[in-house]
């Protein structure tokens, strides 16, 4: 099977394997039915089931599968028989007809000539005798065996049998005790649920639900696969295809047959090919539904037609009002229609809502009413499946008259009245889903497909969005600039450009983009917030504050805005305001650690260490692995001398060996003699600085409780400041410190840190920087400390990761900056030996050092790589 024609899609005619391939949704139901049927055929039990649901819901597919699976399962059971009365069994008008159908089905199934010959005898008899004869024939045929009768549309058969026929059938089943029935029905049969009827409670009823969106998608994918239509399969699985299948499933009411019809249309390239077969399908169904409508009383027909027109569930009072029918009478008619399977109801609160239960009935009535005019369903389908661009292109080449032109014109009118915003919105949702999940390949195919349907600037925008999500900012910027060039009046393009520029640290350009959005779209909290962030990044704190306050005026319920306000005012040294904003942020969203963190920081600024500690403790509780929170927690705990917390949180250094060095240095500086450094897992070898602390270093500097502490802090601030390319600030710290106030080891250690930091930041400017440092040390008469620092930096030099390329530069810089000062002669010669001997591999280099210096050097580099 490689191709399915929609008009011939009759599940009972499909091969078992194809039915299996197409099967979705009802796996549990079928498995259960098969188990029960098999039990009925091989054991002393009779299970009877009816699956009911409207036309096209997949009953025949399900029944056919049950038939094939049961047949396979009982293979080899000689005495187990199946008689399948399929939906084409229209000839059952009496009990006798039913018995005849069963015997014929057995003859057909088992090619039983002897049974066929005995069947011929029945036509010589009267009706009563024929019934008895066939009952006897079946009893004889089944002697010692069992039978499963599979019946489609059993509601129609029950209706034909009438009360008398049903009694006869039930008596026959009861007397024989070996026959079970599995059936389908378009409605819940009253004859099986009325206690006065013979078949009351006889069957286990199963209602067949319509397809959900996911199931509709699976179904169409399976149809595409079976038809070997890979292109259609890929399309259905794309985000856009999925969105459209969902929309089609919605208008088709989850009906399998309608989805099959549409699946054929989806594969067509021309609208011409769609309209005709669709109408043909409806025309084929028309006589059936017309006859059903004729069976209804005039008032019931009126109700059905009204519900078809409404196309959605309607309240009783609305129908009553529109059709001038009294509510009491209407309720009775609706109940009757519900029992006959025309309408279904849903109760929401005290109100009952009614709608047509068979989508196909609605389509047929719509087609009949609008004969010769475009069908609403088909227009809906065109709008969902095609873009305005495609429809317009098709319209341009069509002749002035004709049905297809009428369809496309109406579809375009509908599109123009509803605009494509919804489509854009759906695309964005789909794209976001892909990018959030990191499914960039899928997102790309989504984009490629979309490019057929939307305008070029929109595609460029979406491409830019995708690149932005992949952090490819330069390319993203290029795409969005091109989009703006094509459609400069669309503001969301500037918004996107601003976001990209912000990520590229081009804050001034980002400010320009966001200002454009602000000027064109008017004020919005989002744009003001974006502007504030970028002003903050440029250091323009006043402007940042202005915009964040405007954003808060427009939306004072966002914790995120309050948090930003707190940060800005904190940076400006307005710690009371920062604290207020932090408290408001916490009030709005107490579950975000950032609010608590800002409360802690602003409290530190206000020297309220108690509040700071409880706030940071709360933040730590929420985010125990957040390095900055751990750092701040330790910092505050150290200030408060809370050794319990230090011990508790201190092990964080083991978990995060690269934890914020700024805090480490501060701690070391303040409590060098009081805290067991090993206990805290301090390791200056693992210094990796946090940008977070760098930004706020100045704030931390004010932490100290007395001048001495501040000085000590500043002493150890130098190293991280240099790491963060803030050499001038580091130099400022050095200049402000009275080295004489501190123990020499501290001063020496600080000098080593400064040299190592300069070495790590080696550049052409390092010699100049070194000279300035030297000048400070000379000014403080502490050159010996710097000599010590340079000497002690040799092990770090040997661990220097870029020594092959930058080591020579560093050694040259040292020579240029310090070579003129005799105090550095020995240490510089040691550096040269370290470079030539240990970096360049000249084993004789060390011999150039005098013996005493050589011993000192060897002790120094012991253990280095």
């Amino acid at each position: 099977m490689t191709n399915i024609m929609v008009t011939s899609f009759t599940p009972s005619l499909l091969a078992h394997e194809d039915l299996e391939k197409l099967f979705v949704q009802r796996h549990d139901e079928v498995q259960r039915a098969v188990e029960l049927a098999v039990e009925s055929l091989v054991k002393d039990a009779c299970h009877n089931m009816i699956f009911y649901g409207p036309r096209g819901i997949g009953k025949t597919h399900l029944i056919s599968l049950i038939y094939y699976r049961v047949k396979k399962a009982i293979n080899g059971e000689e005495k187990a028989r199946i008689a399948w009365l399929n939906e084409e069994e229209w000839g059952v008008a009496t009990y006798l007809d039913f018995l005849l159908c069963v015997v014929r089905a057995l003859v057909e199934e088992y090619k039983d000539k002897s049974l066929n010959a005995r069947l011929e005898e029945v036509f010589e008899l009267s009706i009563d005798d024929a019934e008895l004869y066939l009952e006897g024939l079946l009893a004889n045929y089944l002697e010692g065996g069992r039978l499963l009768i599979i019946v489609e549309n059993i509601n129609e058969i029950f209706s034909s049998l009438g009360s008398e026929g049903q009694h006869k059938l039930r008596a026959f089943l009861q007397n024989l005790e070996v026959i079970s029935i599995i059936a389908s029905s378009t409605i819940l049969i009253k004859d099986t649920s009325d206690k006065n009827k013979p078949f009351y409670g006889f069957f286990l009823n199963r209602h067949l639900e319509p397809l959900t969106d996911d199931q509709a998608l699976q179904f169409l994918v399976k149809i595409a696969r079976l038809s070997s239509n890979e292109k259609l399969e890929r399309y259905i699985e794309s985000a856009l295809g999925r969105a459209r299948v969902e929309a089609i499933n919605n208008i088709s009411g989850g009906n399998h047959r309608v989805m099959v019809i549409f699946s054929q249309f989806l594969a067509k390239s021309s609208l011409e090919e769609l309209v005709t077969p669709f109408l043909k399908t409806l025309n084929e169904l028309m006589p059936y539904y017309q006859s059903k409508m004729k069976d209804l009383a005039a008032q019931q027909r009126k109700i059905v037609e009204y519900l078809c027109e409404a196309r959605h569930a309607v309240q009783v009072k609305e129908i009553a009002g529109r059709l001038f029918i009294k509510q009491q009478s209407l309720s009775r008619q609706l109940l009757e229609l519900s029992k006959k399977g025309y309408v279904k109801s849903e109760r929401i609160g005290r109100e009952s809502y009614y709608e047509i239960s068979e989508p196909l009935l609605r389509f047929c009535i719509d087609a009949k009413r609008k004969r010769g005019k475009p069908l609403k369903l088909f227009i809906d389908f065109l709008v969902i499946w095609y873009s305005a661009k495609e429809l317009q292109e098709r319209l341009d080449i069509l002749p002035d008259n004709g049905l297809e032109r009428a369809y496309i014109t109406e579809a375009l009118d509908l599109i123009n009245s509803s605009r494509e915003d919804e489509l854009i919105s759906n695309m964005m949702t789909g794209l976001r889903e892909c990018t959030d999940k990191g499914e960039y390949r899928r997102a790309k195919s989504f984009l490629a497909e979309l490019s057929k349907y939307v305008e070029d600037y929109e595609i460029l925008f979406l491409k830019s969005y995708l690149l932005y999500s992949q952090q490819k900012y330069e390319q993203a910027l290029k795409e969005i600039e091109e989009a703006i060039r094509l459609k400069e009046e669309v503001n969301y393009l500037y918004m996107q450009r601003g976001r990209i520029q912000q990520r590229m640290d081009d804050y001034l350009a980002a400010i320009d983009s966001f200002q454009k959005v602000l000027a064109a779209d008017g004020e919005s909290a989002t744009v003001h917030n974006s502007l504030s962030k970028n002003y903050y990044n440029t250091g323009a704190l006043d402007e940042a504050q202005f915009h964040i306050e405007r954003a808060i005026e427009l939306d004072d319920n966002k914790a995120e805005l309050q948090f930003a306000h707190s940060l800005i005012t904190f940076q400006k040294g307005e710690c009371s305001t920062a604290k207020q904003s932090a408290l408001r942020a916490i009030q709005l969203d107490p579950d975000v650690s950032l609010g608590w963190m800002m409360l802690a920081l602003s409290s530190v600024g206000l020297k309220d260490y108690e509040t700071a500690e409880s706030a940071v403790a709360k933040a730590y509780e929420m985010a125990p692995d957040e390095e900055n929170i751990i750092s701040l927690y330790l910092l505050v705990a150290v200030v408060n001398k809370n050794y319990d917390v230090i011990q508790q949180v201190g092990n964080a250094f083991e978990r995060f060996p690269a934890l914020n060095s700024g805090v480490q240095l501060l701690l070391k500086g303040i409590y060098d003699d009081e805290i067991d450094i090993d206990m805290l897992g301090f390791s200056l070898k693992h210094i990796v600085l946090s940008s977070y602390l760098n930004e706020r270093m100045a704030a931390y500097v004010s932490l100290g409780k007395d001048e001495d502490t501040i000085g000590a802090t500043k002493l150890f601030m130098c190293e991280p400041l240099i790491y963060h390319n803030n050499f001038q600030a580091a130099l400022g710290c050095l200049e402000n410190i009275q080295f004489g106030n501190y123990n020499p080891p501290r001063v020496y250690e600080a000098a080593r840190g400064v040299v190592v930091a300069l070495m790590c930041n080696t550049s052409q400017n390092s010699a100049r920087d070194l000279k300035q440092v030297l000048k400070v040390y000379e000014g403080k008469e502490s050159v010996d400390a710097l000599v010590y620092g340079v000497m002690k930096s040799i092990p770090a030099f040997l661990d220097f990761p870029y020594r092959d390329t930058l080591s020579k530069v560093w050694v040259d810089n040292l020579e240029r900056a310090l070579g003129d000062n005799d105090a550095f002669a020995i240490v510089l010669s040691m550096y040269k030996v370290a470079y030539e001997g240990l970096v360049m591999g000249d084993e004789t280099a060390v011999l150039s050092l005098p013996m005493e210096e050589r011993r000192l050097f060897e002790e120094l580099v012991e253990g280095c790589s």
């Binding site: 039990a45 005798d129 026959f172 007397n175 079970s180 006065n196 013979p198």
Partner: protein
């Protein structure tokens, strides 16, 4: 064990009923039986279990008569079902083929059968019973299912005389063949309805007063629980609270049909069996109009069972009053029903008797109460204050 509310359950899977079947055989050994049963309570299952567990002296034939609408049809049916014995019949000198063709020919031509021919069906049945008796095969136990339905049809189609004639013939047969024939009458509608009609038409005989009335009760609580447990296991239904099973059995009145359907709700929804979900499911099944419980039938059938408008009105009043009471004595009930003094006391007593016979009420220790709590709950929900 699988859910199977309306089909045939293998006798090996039948839960309980053992004691009832033993008791029935004890009775059948002595006399014929009228087996009364509420619809879907499991009467056919009991009959099948009886047949499967029949003693050596019993030769059981089960016949469902709901397709039969005449005495002629009855004899045809009996012939068909008793075919295994047809050889013996022929030995007894009956030309079965001609017997039926003459019968059929007359009926088909619309000719009124001569008096002698009218009763030929009796002749056949007499011969059948006789063959059993002479064959020394023990007792023939004829289980006549849906007999009331058949009598109703004969009554409507051919008049009360024919229905009464059949009943009388069957009575005469079992009395004449006390040693070799037992009849078990049963059906989904009460036999007393057709007997009441016949009585009204002047056929005031006593066609069943020699028979023992046995009622098929709901399951014993322990058996109902075993049924629930069997279904939980067989259908792989998750159950997080063991006492939820007991709750389900009790809240379904230990009525197997309702238990099967309530369990089916758990299969359909995949819900776990807990006390809460059991309560929700049973309430839904009681109150939902489309539910398989179909409890509104107890209200609708009042009009069918009691075409007399006054009986219907009193029955409705009694049921509504009792739906919010645990039980009531006859005097109190009469006072409340008859607050306006419209009905005679004997009339109310007669209605109460009918409601007991028709499985609405129980009459125990002078108190009337609902037989099934499910029906009571439905009535209170639908008509209670």
């Amino acid at each position: 064990m699988r859910i199977n509310p309306g089909g045939t359950i293998p006798v090996g899977d039948v839960v309980g009923r053992g004691q009832l079947v033993k008791e029935l055989w004890r009775v059948v050994e002595r006399q014929s039986v009228v087996l009364a049963a509420e619809r879907r309570i499991g009467k056919t299952t009991v009959l099948r279990k009886m047949r499967d567990e029949s003693p050596d002296w019993a030769n059981v034939v089960f016949v469902d008569l709901e397709a039969v609408q005449s005495t002629e049809g009855f004899s045809r049916k009996m012939y068909q079902e008793l075919k295994p014995h047809v050889g013996r019949l022929e030995r007894l000198g009956i030309d079965v083929r001609n017997f039926f063709s003459s019968f059929k020919g007359a009926g088909a031509a619309g000719v009124k059968l001569p008096e002698a021919d009218k009763h030929r069906w009796k002749e056949l049945l007499r011969k059948v019973f006789e063959s059993f008796e002479k064959g020394g095969n023990g007792k023939l136990i004829l289980m006549l299912d849906e007999l009331p339905w058949m009598l109703e049809k004969i009554y409507v189609k051919n008049g009360p005389e024919e229905a009464m004639d059949l009943l009388d013939f069957l009575r005469e047969s079992r009395q004449q063949r006390e040693e070799s024939l037992r009849l078990i009458y049963t059906g989904s509608i009460g036999l007393h309805h057709i007997l009441g009609k016949l009585k009204k038409d002047g056929h005031g005989g006593t066609p069943i007063n020699d028979m023992c009335l046995v009622e098929v009760p709901v399951l014993e609580q322990g058996d109902a629980l075993a049924l629930v447990e069997g279904l939980v296991e067989g259908e792989n239904i998750s159950c997080s609270e063991p006492n939820a099973k007991e709750q389900l059995a009790i809240s379904c009145d230990c009525f197997p049909f309702y238990i099967h359907h309530a369990m089916d709700e758990f299969v359909k929804t995949g819900q776990t069996l807990t006390r809460q979900t059991v309560g929700e499911v049973v309430t839904r099944l009681i109150e939902n109009e489309g539910s398989p419980f179909q409890l509104q039938h107890y209200h609708e059938r009042l009009g069918i069972y009691y075409p007399d408008e006054q009986i219907k009105v009193v029955a409705q009043k009694v049921l509504t009053i009792l739906s919010t009471e645990s039980s009531m004595g006859r005097a109190d009930l009469s006072n409340q029903v008859n607050s306006e003094g419209v009905f005679e006391d004997y009339f109310i007593r007669e209605v109460l008797g009918l409601l007991v016979k028709d499985h609405y009420l129980l009459h125990e220790a002078g108190q009337y109460k609902y037989k099934f709590d499910l029906v009571k709950s439905w009535w209170a929900w639908r008509f209670g204050a």
